[in-house]
C-alpha cells in the first residue's frame, strides 16, 4: 500500500542531474502517494527494458511539478491537479505539462460490524474527526462514545483524508493514530465504538459505510460518484511520442500487468 517515501530530495536532485546527462535514463519525481505505483512500475519496466535506468524519488507533488518545470525529471507524479501558478511557471520555461490519470485513490470509511449506523455524509465524517460529534447516538446509533482512529500523519492515506474530507478543519487531539491500514482495520474490528478510514482493499472484517449515499467500490471511485476519491496523475512535458521510454513507461497503466501492479499497491486502476 502507500508506503513511506524514504529518498531524500538532495539525493534525488543529484541523481536527476547525473542521470539526465545520459540518454537511456528515466527520472521520476513527485508525490509520495503515487510513489508506490511509480516504484513498482520501475521495477517491472527495468526487467522488460534493461537498457533503461529508471530513478524514482518521492519528494511530494509540489516538488515533482517543480522538477518537471526545471527539466530535472521526465515524469512528475502528482496526487492533485497542477495549480495555475505551476502551469504559468511551466509556460514561462517552455514546458507543456500533460497530465495522465494513471489510477484512482479512494478511502473507505469503516466502522465496527456491530455498529447499526447505515451511512454518513462527508460533513458528518468531518464533524466526527474534528470532535464536534462525540457519540454515535447523535447519528442515530447507540449511546456509545465514538473512538476516532486515524492513520499516522506520515501516510499518503492520511494526506488523502485530510485533503478530501477535513479540508481546513483539524483532527481532534484525542484521535488515536496507528501505523498501517491493517492496524486501522484491526482497531475498528475489535472496538465497538470505533471509526476509521482505510484504502479500499482493507475492508475485510469491518463495515464500510456509504458516504453521501454512495458505497465505496472500484466502480463508484472510477465514475467519481464516491466522494472520497481522487485521481492520481503522471505529468509529462508534452504528449510523449510512441517508441520513447517515457511513452512505454507511462502506458504501463493500461496493460494487464500494469493494472495488476496498481491493484497490488492498493489503488483503483482506471482501465
Amino acid at each position: 500500500m502507500k508506503s513511506k517515501g524514504k529518498m531524500s530530495v538532495a539525493v534525488a536532485a543529484v541523481l536527476a542531474a547525473v542521470s539526465l546527462a545520459q540518454a537511456e535514463n528515466l527520472v521520476i519525481d513527485g508525490s509520495t502517494t503515487v510513489g508506490p505505483i511509480a516504484k513498482a512500475f520501475a521495477e517491472y519496466f527495468m526487467k522488460q527494458r534493461p537498457d533503461v535506468n529508471v530513478t524514482v524519488s518521492e519528494s511530494g507533488s509540489g516538488n515533482g511539478a517543480k522538477s518537471l518545470i526545471n527539466g530535472t525529471c521526465h515524469i512528475a507524479t502528482m496526487s492533485r491537479p497542477m495549480k495555475d501558478k505551476e502551469k504559468a511557471a511551466a509556460q514561462e520555461s517552455g514546458i507543456l505539462p500533460i497530465p495522465t490519470v494513471v489510477a484512482m485513490d479512494g478511502l473507505a470509511i469503516v466502522v465496527n460490524p456491530a455498529n447499526p449506523v447505515q451511512g454518513l455524509t462527508i460533513e458528518q465524517i468531518r464533524a466526527i474527526y474534528a470532535g464536534n460529534i462525540k457519540n454515535w447516538k447523535e447519528l442515530g446509533g447507540p449511546d456509545l462514545p465514538i473512538v476516532v482512529v486515524s492513520r499516522d500523519t506520515n501516510s499518503g492515506t492520511y494526506e488523502c483524508f485530510e485533503t478530501l474530507v477535513m479540508k481546513q478543519e483539524k483532527i481532534l487531539g484525542s484521535a488515536e493514530y496507528v501505523g498501517s491500514n491493517g492496524a486501522v482495520r484491526d482497531r475498528v474490528r475489535t472496538t465497538t465504538g470505533a471509526i476509521g478510514y482505510v484504502g479500499l482493499a482493507f475492508t475485510e472484517g469491518v463495515k464500510p459505510l456509504p458516504v453521501n449515499g454512495v458505497a465505496p467500490k472500484p466502480e463508484t471511485v472510477i465514475d467519481k460518484t464516491y466522494p472520497i476519491s481522487r485521481p492520481l496523475f503522471m505529468v509529462t512535458n508534452g504528449r510523449p511520442k510512441p517508441g520513447t521510454a517515457v511513452y512505454d513507461f507511462l502506458m504501463l497503466y493500461r496493460q494487464p500487468d500494469g493494472i495488476k501492479i496498481i491493484e497490488d499497491v492498493g489503488y483503483v486502476p482506471v482501465r
Binding site: 531524500s8 516538488n63 483539524k170 487531539g173 496507528v178 501505523g179 475489535t190 472496538t191 470505533a194
Partner: protein, 394 residues
C-alpha cells in the same frame, strides 16, 4: 606504599649479596613498563568508547535538533498542546508527548516497583533456596521477550479485553491490591490502638473487636469502590493503562534482578549479626537488610524507569498515540502519545526538504529524551552517593 619502600630499600643497599631474581635488567624493566603502558592505553581506549559514544550521540542529535529550536523557538515546543506537524501552517506543541511519557512511566513504575521489590525480597530472603533457583530464570525470561511481542499482546489481547471487560479488570486489580493492604492496616491499627488500654484482658478483647470491626469496614470500602470500578466502561482499550501495565511487566525483570543482587550484596554477616541481637526475620529485613541495600534498590528503580521511558514499540502499538493531555491529567483510561512513539512513527517520511521543521522536531524530542535520561542518571548517582555516606556515618 610506605611499607613497600621500607621493605624494598635494604635489598638494594646490600650490594654485596647476590642479585635477587626479581630485579630485572634495565632493558627488560623498560619493556615491561612499555607493555604495561600499552595495556593501560588499550583498556583506557575500550573504556572511553562508551563515553565517546554518548558524547557523539549528544553531538549528532543536538546538531539536528538545533535548526528546529532556531526556527521555532522553545516556548511552543514545551508549552503548546497542539501537535499538527503536517498542517499548513504546522504546529509543533510537544507538551502532550512529555505528559504522555511521564504518565505512562509513572504507571509502569506503579506496577513494577512494588511487585519487583517484593519479588526481590522474596527471592533473596524469604523463599527457600530451591524455589529461588527455579523462579529467578523465569523472571529473567521476561527480559528476553522481544518488545514487539509485548506490543502485540497489548494490542491484540489486552486492548480488546479492556474494552469488553474493562470495569471488571479494574475491579479485580483493585481487589488484589487494596484488600490485602487494608486488611494488614486493620490488623496493625487494632494492635496499636488496643496497646493503649491498661489491662491485658481488655487489650486482648479490644484487639479482637477492633480488628474485626476495622477489617469489616475496610472490606466494605473495598467492595464499594470495586463495584464503582466494575461499572466503568472503556470505549478504547489502547490507552495509558494498557501500556503502563505492559511496560511495568517489561521493567519487572530489571527491577527484580538488580534489587535482588543488591540485597544479596548486603552479605551474611549483617543478617547473622541482626539475628544474634534477637531481631526477628521481619525486623532484620526491614531494619537492617533493606536499609543497607537501599542504594542498590534505588538504582534498580531508576534502571526500570529508564526501561519504561525508552520503550518504543509497545507504546507505538498500544498507547493510542493521541496527542492530547488526558482530562483530568492523571486519567490513565485515555489514549496518550509518548516522545518515543512519535519519533518512531514520524521518522519514516519526515523529509529533509518539504518538512524541514517536521524532521528536526523529532531530533528535538530525541534530545529531550537524552536530557531526561541524563538527569535520571545524575539523580540516581546523587542518591546512591548520599545514601552511602549516610550509612558510613551511622
Amino acid at each position: 606504599m610506605g611499607w613497600l619502600r621500607n621493605n624494598a630499600e635494604p635489598l638494594f643497599e646490600a650490594s654485596a649479596r647476590p642479585r635477587p631474581a626479581l630485579v630485572l635488567s634495565g632493558r627488560a624493566a623498560w619493556g615491561r613498563r612499555l607493555a604495561a603502558l600499552a595495556g593501560r592505553a588499550l583498556l583506557g581506549g575500550v573504556a572511553s568508547v562508551s563515553l565517546l559514544a554518548v558524547l557523539f550521540i549528544f553531538v549528532f542529535v543536538g546538531r539536528d535538533a538545533w535548526p528546529f529550536f532556531r526556527s521555532r523557538g522553545v516556548v511552543e515546543f514545551l508549552t503548546s498542546v497542539r501537535w499538527y506537524p503536517v498542517a499548513d501552517p504546522p504546529e509543533f506543541g510537544c507538551l502532550p508527548m512529555f505528559m504522555g511519557t511521564a504518565l505512562v512511566t509513572l504507571g509502569a513504575m506503579a506496577v513494577a516497583v512494588p511487585v519487583g521489590l517484593a519479588a526481590a525480597v522474596g527471592l533473596s530472603d524469604i523463599l527457600p533456596f530451591g524455589a529461588r533457583q527455579a523462579l529467578k530464570p523465569v523472571v529473567e525470561i521476561l527480559a528476553a521477550i522481544p518488545s514487539v511481542a509485548y506490543g502485540f499482546f497489548a494490542l491484540v489481547v489486552l486492548a480488546p479485553a479492556l474494552q469488553r471487560n474493562g470495569g471488571r479488570c479494574l475491579a479485580a486489580a483493585w481487589w488484589a491490591v487494596a484488600a490485602p493492604l487494608l486488611l494488614l492496616g486493620a490488623v496493625v491499627l487494632s494492635d496499636v490502638l488496643s496497646g493503649w488500654l491498661p489491662s491485658a484482658r481488655a487489650r486482648a478483647a479490644a484487639r479482637w473487636t477492633l480488628g474485626l470491626g476495622l477489617a469489616a469496614a475496610a472490606l466494605w470500602g473495598v467492595a464499594r469502590v470495586g463495584a464503582a470500578l466494575a461499572a466503568v466502561q472503556l470505549p478504547s482499550g489502547t490507552n495509558a493503562l494498557n501500556v503502563s501495565f505492559v511496560l511495568g511487566l517489561m521493567a519487572l525483570p530489571t527491577v527484580v534482578s538488580v534489587s535482588e543482587d543488591a540485597l544479596q550484596a548486603v552479605g551474611r554477616e549483617l543478617r547473622e549479626g541482626s539475628y544474634a541481637l534477637g531481631a526477628t526475620r521481619a525486623e532484620t529485613l526491614c531494619r537492617a537488610v533493606i536499609p543497607a541495600a537501599s542504594s542498590g534498590l534505588g538504582a534498580a528503580v531508576i534502571l526500570g524507569m529508564m526501561r519504561a521511558i525508552g520503550e518504543t514499540m509497545v507504546v507505538w502499538m498500544a498507547s493510542g498515540n493521541a496527542a492530547q493531555i488526558p482530562r483530568p491529567w492523571y486519567n490513565i483510561l485515555q489514549p496518550v502519545r509518548t516522545l518515543t512513539a512519535t519519533i518512531a512513527g514520524d521518522m519514516g517520511e519526515a523529509d529533509h526538504v518539504t518538512g524541514s521543521d517536521r524532521y528536526h522536531v523529532l531530533f528535538a524530542m530525541g534530545l529531550s529524551l537524552l536530557a531526561i535520561a541524563f538527569l535520571c542518571n545524575a539523580a540516581s548517582e546523587a542518591v546512591v552517593r548520599r545514601q552511602r555516606r549516610r550509612l558510613r556515618g551511622a
